[in-house]
Symmetry: C2
C-alpha cells in the first residue's frame, strides 16, 4: 500500500488517512510491553558520560521522594479510613432515626443510602476510569512484570480508585480497601517519580526508576492498609515485582515504613487528642494478649488451612465462571453501572434483613453482637471476631456463608473492591466457630480468637494463594510473633490444597483478561522448543544510513516497535520506533537530513526524551518530512548495538529467562552467520488457553512446519505437579 | 611445549608430568566460578525429554527433603545451645569450687578451662578445616553468588564449624553462634541436596537445585539461631542470595519455619518437662510486655543509630587493619593456633579480672548483675540488658567498651565466631546507659530495655550494614511488632552513616580475601567500557569434529574451562572442559572414536554426570586415549549451541547484568560477523583495589590500547554517592 510513497514527494499525503488509523488502532487495542533494558546507542552512552555520577544532593532527593511517596500513601489510606468511618456513622444515624417509623421506610432508607454510595463508586469506575475496578493488584502485578497497561498508573486512576473505594466500602459491599490501597500507593509512586524525573532528577533510566517507585508505592499501600511495613515489602516481592535486588528492597522498605509511620501517627492523634505522638499502640486487627499454643493444635490449624484451600478453590472457580459471564454479557457502561446498583441493592437488603430477623427492628446500638456483624465495616468485624466474647455459632455460620456468596458475587463488579477483608471475614467467622467448639471442649482452654485468626489466614491464602507476605501481614496487624508458626503452617496448607484445583484469584483475573504476564518460570514445554518455533518471521529491517523516503515506507508498512539494523546483510543492532520517530521529527533543526550520505550530525539524546513516555505519531513524522524524501539520514548514533540476541536454535527456556530476567520487549533472533531470522516479543512466549481454533487456523496459514507457537493449547487449570516440574528447575 | 604432541602417538607421555601439575595447580590455587546456566546441547535436551516432567512423588520428596533440612538445622542449633549451656555450667562449678582457695589458683582454673575449650575450637579450624573459621556468612554469600569456594559446603566443614562454635562460645570469647549456624544450615542443605539428587531425585539441574537448598539451609540457620523464620528468609535474600524468585522464597520459607518449629518445640520440652508441646512462649531475646513509645523519642533513636553507624565503621576499619596484619604475619597453622590460645588467655583474664575488681572473689551466684555480664554467655547477657532492672552506668560503660575492643580483636581469629551476639551486646550496653538516663530524666518514663534494644540494632547494623532482615530478626526475637518503626529508623540511620566511611564487615572480609563477588549492581565505570576492554583474547577454540590428537593438544595447552566451537570459522556454541574430559574417558565403550569423520555415536548425558561434581583430570584423559590419537571424535552432541554471547562493543554493564542475572561462568564475545574475539569470565568483571603495580605491568604487557581491565584502580572505601550513582539505575 505504501510502496508508491518512495520518491513521490508530497503526493503520499493521500494515503495518510488510511494508514495512520490502522497503525494507531493496532497500538491502542493491543496490550504492549514495557522495555526495562537499556539501549546502548553511542549517543546514549555519550549522554551518560556527560551527566557524570548522580550527585549527593540528587541521591538525597531520591530518598526524600521515596519518603514522600510513603507519606502521601499513608495520607490516602487515612482519608479512606476516616471517610469510611464517617459514612458508616451517617448511615447508622439515618437508619436509626427511622426506627420509630415503619420498617419498610427504614429498609428503603438503608438500601437507598447504600445504593447512593455504591452509585458514586460505580460511576467513577464505569464512566470515569474503568481501570479503577477491582482490587488493582492484578494490574500492578502486570505493570511490574513489564506489561504496558495504559493508564494504570495515572492520576485519574488514583482519584477514581481512592474516592471510589471510600464509597464502595461505605456502601456495605463485601469488599475491602486493601487492594485499592496497594494500587493507590503504586500510582502515587509512579506520579511522584514521573514528575520528579523529568524536572528535578536528571534521570538515566526513566522507565526503570518509575518501576522501582511503583514497587515502593505498592509496598507503602500494604503498609498503610495494615500497618505492616515488612509485610508490604514482602507482598511487593511475592505478588508484585518481577525484578528484585537488595537495593530495591531497601528503597521499598524505607517507603513502606514511612507510610506505616504516617498512618500510625495521624490515626493515634485523630482518635484521641491526648494521644498525639503516642506510637505503637495501634494494631489493625487488635492485639492478642497471650502467646502460647499447644502442639496438638497444629493438625487442627492445618486442617483448617486445608478447608480454607478448598473453600478458596471453590470461590475462585465460581468467580471465574461469573467473570466469564460478565465479560460476555455485561459489556456496555450502562449495563455495568446497572449491575453495580442491582448487586448493591440485593446486598444491602440482605444486610438489612438478617439483623431484623435476628433481633427485630431496633437501633444499631441495641443489636446483638452477631447481628452487628452484618452492618459494620469489615475491619471492625474482623476485630470483633478476633477479640470479642462468645457468639452464637449458628448465626456465625449464617454470616460466614452469606458473606462468602456475596463476596464472590462482588469481586469483579465494576467498583473498586479489595479481596482481603471479605476473605479474612469469611475465614474468621468459620474459624471462630471451630474455636468456640474447642473452647467448650474438655481440652485445655484456648482462645476462640486465635482460631478465628487461623481461619482468616486459611481463607485468604486459599483464595489469593499468597503465603509468606500474608503471614507477615497478619503477624504485624495483630502485633505478636508468637503465632507465626501456626499462621505459616495454615497458609502453606491452604496454598498447597488450593493449588491442586486452580490458580489464585489474581492470576485467574490476569489470565481472563488475556494479559501476557511472564510467570517466574517458563512452561515445561519451553524446553523442547527453540527460538525458531515462536519467532515472528516478518521482520522489517533498516540500514544504518537510509534515504528518508525508504525509511518512511518501512515505518509505515507495519506497526513494529523495534527494527533490527543490518549493515551489508549482517545484524549490527536495533532501533526503536519511538527513537526513530522522534529523531525524524526533531531532525531538521540539527541538520541530519542531507542530500548525500553524510555522518556527524545527530539529534541529542535529551531531545529524544522530550515527549517521554509518548512519542510523535507516524502521521506527525510524515508531515515533518514532506520535502526531504530524497535526502539521506544517518541512524548510526541511535542504534542499540549491544542488545541481547539469541541464535535460531536457542532453547525457548533461555529466551524466556532473558525476557523475564532482563525485562526485554524485543529480542532479535540472529543466526550464527549474522543474519536476522526473526524477532520475538512477549506475546510469543504466552501459551494461549483453550485455543484449538487458533491453532488450526495458524497451522493452515503457516503450514505444518511453521505452526505458530501461540496455537499450542495449554491445559487449564494445571495440576500442581505440572507447575513444579522440570522447567522450573531450569528457569 | 605441546606442539609436538600432534601425530606422535604414545610418545607424548613424556610430557605429561610437566603438564598435568601445571593444570592441576592452576585449578586448585585459583578460585573458580560456578555455572548456574544450563548447557543446551542436543544431547542434554534429549535427556530432558526422556525424563519427562517431575512426578508428583518426586515433588513431594523435594518438600520432605526441605523439611528435613529445616529439622536437621534446628537440631544442630539445639545441640549448640545445650552444649554451650552445659559448658558454662561446668566452668561455673569448677571456678566456684576454687573460691575458697587462693585467687591465683581460681584465676588459673578459669583461664585454663577457657583456653582448653578454645584450643578445641582452634584445633578444628587450624588443623581440620580452615574454612570453619569466622562467621561463615561471607563464604555462603560467595557460594550463592556463584563463586566456587572449594569445601565450603562439605560435611567436614559442618562438623568443624558446629563443634567448633560450641567450644569457642563456651570459652567465653566474644563471639556468637549465629553466623556459624547460618553456615551450618547451608552445609546441611547442600549435603541433603547432593545426596538426594544423585540417588532419589532424578535431577535436571543439579547445580541449581543444590544452590536453592543452600539458600534454604542458610535461612533455616537464622531461623534456628534466633527463632526467626521470616527474618531467616529475609536474611537469605538480603545478604545471601544473588538469585531469587517467589518459588525459591516459598521453599526457603518452608525450610526456615521447620527449623524454627523444631528448635522451639525441643527447647520448650528440654527446659521444662511439663512444657512438652507448649509452643510460642519462647523468645530468644525475651518479650517486652508493653508496646508504646512517643514521637519525640524517634530523633533519639535515630541519633543512637548514627552513633552505631560511627562505632560500626570504626570497628570495621580497625578490624580491616588487624585482618591485613594477620594475613601478612600469621600464616602458618601453628602460629594461628598459638594466636587463638593467646587471645583466649587475654580475654579470659579480662573476664576474670573485672568481676573480681568489682565485687571481690566470690562465687558466681553472688556476683552483682554488672559483674555477671563478663562471665555469662552472650545471649543471656542480651536478655539481662534488655529486661533486668537498673544497673550502674559506669560499669555498663566499661563492659561495653571492653567488649567492643575484644570483639574487634576476636573477629578474624581462627575459631568459628559470629559477629551478631558481640555486636548486639556492645550496642545493648551503651543503649542501656542512654535508656537509664532517659528513665531518670523528668520526661515521661520509658523502659531502659527498649533503649538497649535500639542500641543493639544500631551497633549491629553499623557493623554488618544489614537492614530489613536485622529489623525483622529482632522483632521476631523479642516477639512484638510494636517496636518495628523505631528499629527500622535506627538500622537505616546506622547503615547510612556507616556507609559514608566503609563497607559492611562481611563485604570487607570478602574483599580482603580477593574473592570475585559480583555485587548487585555494576561499578559506575562499567558503563563507559565495552566487552572488548575486558575480554581475554587468548581463546582456544575447538571444532565440532576433531582429530583426537589435536583435541588433546588444545586441551593440554591451557587450563580454560570452556571452549568456543567454530565451524568454518564461525561461532556455533561452547563446550565445557568437564564434558569433554568425561566424554573422552567414557567414549571408547560407546564407539565414538572412529578412524574417519563419522556422526551418530555419542556418550549419553547420564554418563557425563557420573563423577559430578568432579570430572576426570587431563592426565586420566591422556591415559585413556593413548592409542586413538589418529582417530576422529564428533563433539557435536555436546555443544551448547544456545548459550549467551555478546558482541565486542556491548557495554560492560550489560555483560555484568548477564553474568549476575543468569549465573554465568563463561561468556564468549562474538563479533556481528560470527568470529570469536574473546572470552569473559567472572574475574574479568572485578575491579582490583590498590593495584597500580598490576596496572602498569599489564599496560606494559598488553600495550596501551589493550590495557587489561583488572588494572583499573578503584577508590576504596567509596563514598555513598558513588555507590548509588548512574549505573545503579541501569543494573
Amino acid at each position: 500500500m505504501m510502496v508508491e510513497l518512495e520518491g513521490v514527494g508530497n503526493a503520499e499525503s493521500a494515503n495518510r488517512p488510511t494508514l495512520a488509523p490502522t497503525l494507531a488502532s493496532a497500538c491502542d487495542a493491543g496490550i504492549e510491553s514495557r522495555d526495562f533494558d537499556f539501549h546502548e546507542s553511542s549517543q546514549f552512552v555519550e549522554y551518560l558520560n556527560s551527566l557524570g555520577p548522580l550527585s549527593k544532593s540528587k541521591t538525597l532527593l531520591r530518598w526524600i521522594l521515596l519518603l514522600s511517596v510513603g507519606a502521601l500513601t499513608g495520607c490516602v489510606g487515612l482519608c479512606i479510613d476516616v471517610m469510611v468511618d464517617n459514612f458508616f456513622w451517617l448511615r447508622c444515624v439515618l437508619t436509626d432515626s427511622m426506627v420509630e417509623l415503619n420498617i419498610f421506610v427504614q429498609y428503603l432508607v438503608y438500601v437507598g443510602v447504600c445504593m447512593a454510595l455504591a452509585a458514586v463508586a460505580g460511576f467513577l469506575v464505569c464512566f470515569v476510569e474503568p481501570l479503577a475496578a477491582g482490587s488493582g493488584i492484578p494490574e500492578i502485578k502486570c505493570y511490574l512484570n513489564g506489561v504496558d497497561l495504559k493508564n494504570v498508573c495515572r492520576l485519574r486512576t488514583l482519584i477514581a480508585k481512592a474516592v471510589g473505594v471510600m464509597f464502595s466500602v461505605s456502601a456495605g459491599l463485601p469488599c475491602g480497601k486493601e487492594g485499592p490501597m496497594i494500587h493507590s500507593g503504586a500510582v502515587v509512586g509512579s506520579t511522584v517519580a514521573t514528575c520528579a524525573n523529568l524536572s528535578l532528577l536528571r534521570s538515566y533510566r526513566i522507565e526503570l526508576e518509575v518501576r522501582d517507585f511503583v514497587t515502593s508505592g505498592a509496598a507503602a499501600g500494604v503498609a498503610a492498609a495494615f500497618g505492616a511495613p515488612v509485610g508490604g515489602v514482602l507482598f511487593a516481592m511475592e505478588e508484585g515485582s518481577s525484578f528484585w535486588n537488595p537495593k530495591i528492597m531497601l528503597r521499598t522498605f524505607v517507603c513502606a515504613s514511612c507510610a506505616a509511620f504516617t498512618i500510625s501517627f495521624l490515626m493515634a492523634g485523630l482518635k484521641d487528642v491526648h494521644a498525639w505522638g503516642l506510637m505503637g499502640a495501634h494494631f489493625s486487627f487488635g492485639h492478642f494478649g497471650f502467646n502460647t499454643w499447644r502442639l496438638w493444635e497444629l493438625p487442627i490449624f492445618m486442617l483448617m488451612g486445608a478447608m480454607g484451600g478448598l473453600g478458596g478453590a471453590a470461590f475462585n472457580a465460581s468467580n471465574t465462571v461469573l467473570t466469564r459471564w460478565r465479560m460476555r454479557r455485561i459489556g456496555s457502561r450502562g449495563k455495568r453501572f446497572a449491575e453495580v446498583l442491582l448487586v448493591t441493592g440485593v446486598i444491602a437488603s440482605v444486610n438489612f434483613a438478617f439483623p431484623v430477623l435476628m433481633d427485630g427492628c431496633v437501633p444499631f446500638a441495641d443489636l446483638s453482637d452477631e447481628a452487628k456483624l452484618f452492618r459494620q465495616p469489615g475491619t471492625q468485624v474482623i476485630n470483633i471476631l478476633f477479640h470479642e466474647g462468645e457468639m452464637r455459632e449458628f448465626y456465625l455460620f449464617i454470616f460466614g456463608s452469606v458473606y462468602y456468596v456475596l463476596a464472590c458475587w462482588t469481586y469483579g463488579l465494576r467498583v473498586p473492591s479489595g479481596l482481603f477483608v471479605p476473605s479474612l471475614l469469611v475465614g474468621a467467622s468459620f474459624g471462630r466457630i471451630v474455636g468456640q467448639w474447642m473452647h467448650s471442649s474438655p481440652l485445655p482452654p484456648s482462645s476462640p480468637g486465635i482460631y478465628s485468626l487461623i481461619g482468616a489466614c486459611a481463607c485468604l491464602s486459599g483464595m489469593a494463594r499468597i503465603t509468606i507476605s500474608l503471614a507477615v501481614i497478619l503477624i504485624e496487624a495483630t502485633g505478636d510473633t508468637a503465632w507465626s508458626l501456626p499462621i505459616i503452617a495454615t497458609v502453606l496448607t491452604a496454598k498447597v490444597v488450593g493449588d491442586v484445583f486452580n490458580y489464585g484469584l489474581y492470576d485467574i483475573h490476569i489470565h481472563l483478561k488475556r494479559i501476557p504476564l511472564l510467570d517466574e518460570s517458563a512452561e515445561p514445554a519451553f524446553m523442547h522448543h527453540t527460538a525458531r518455533d515462536v519467532m515472528t518471521r516478518e521482520v522489517t529491517t533498516l540500514e544504518p544510513t537510509m534515504r528518508v523516503g525508504t525509511l518512511l515506507r518501512h515505518l509505515g508498512n507495519n506497526n513494529h516497535h523495534a527494527f533490527p539494523v543490518l549493515r551489508s546483510g549482517k545484524y549490527v543492532g536495533t532501533l526503536k520506533r519511538s527513537t526513530v520517530h522522534q529523531v525524524l521529527v526533531s531532525g531538521r533543526e540539527y541538520g541530519i537530513f542531507q542530500p548525500a550520505v553524510c555522518r556527524g550530525a545527530a539529534v541529542p539524546f535529551i531531545e529524544i526524551l522530550r515527549q517521554y513516555p509518548s512519542f510523535p505519531s507516524f502521521r506527525e513524522v510524515q508531515e515533518h518530512l514532506c520535502d526531504v524524501h530524497d535526502h539521506y539520514v544517518d541512524l548510526g548514533p541511535y542504534i542499540n548495538h549491544g542488545g541481547y540476541t539469541v541464535p535460531d536454535d536457542a532453547a525457548l527456556v533461555r529466551v524466556y529467562m532473558l525476557f523475564r530476567g532482563m525485562g526485554l520487549r524485543h529480542l532479535p533472533v540472529v543466526s550464527h552467520e549474522g543474519q536476522v531470522s526473526g524477532m520475538i516479543t512477549r506475546k510469543d512466549l504466552i501459551l494461549i488457553e483453550d485455543a484449538p481454533d487458533a491453532r488450526c487456523e495458524q497451522s493452515a496459514h503457516d503450514g505444518a512446519e511453521g505452526a505458530r507457537w501461540r496455537g499450542v493449547a495449554q491445559s487449564w487449570p494445571p495440576l500442581l505437579a505440572q507447575s513444579d516440574d522440570q522447567v522450573s528447575h531450569i528457569a
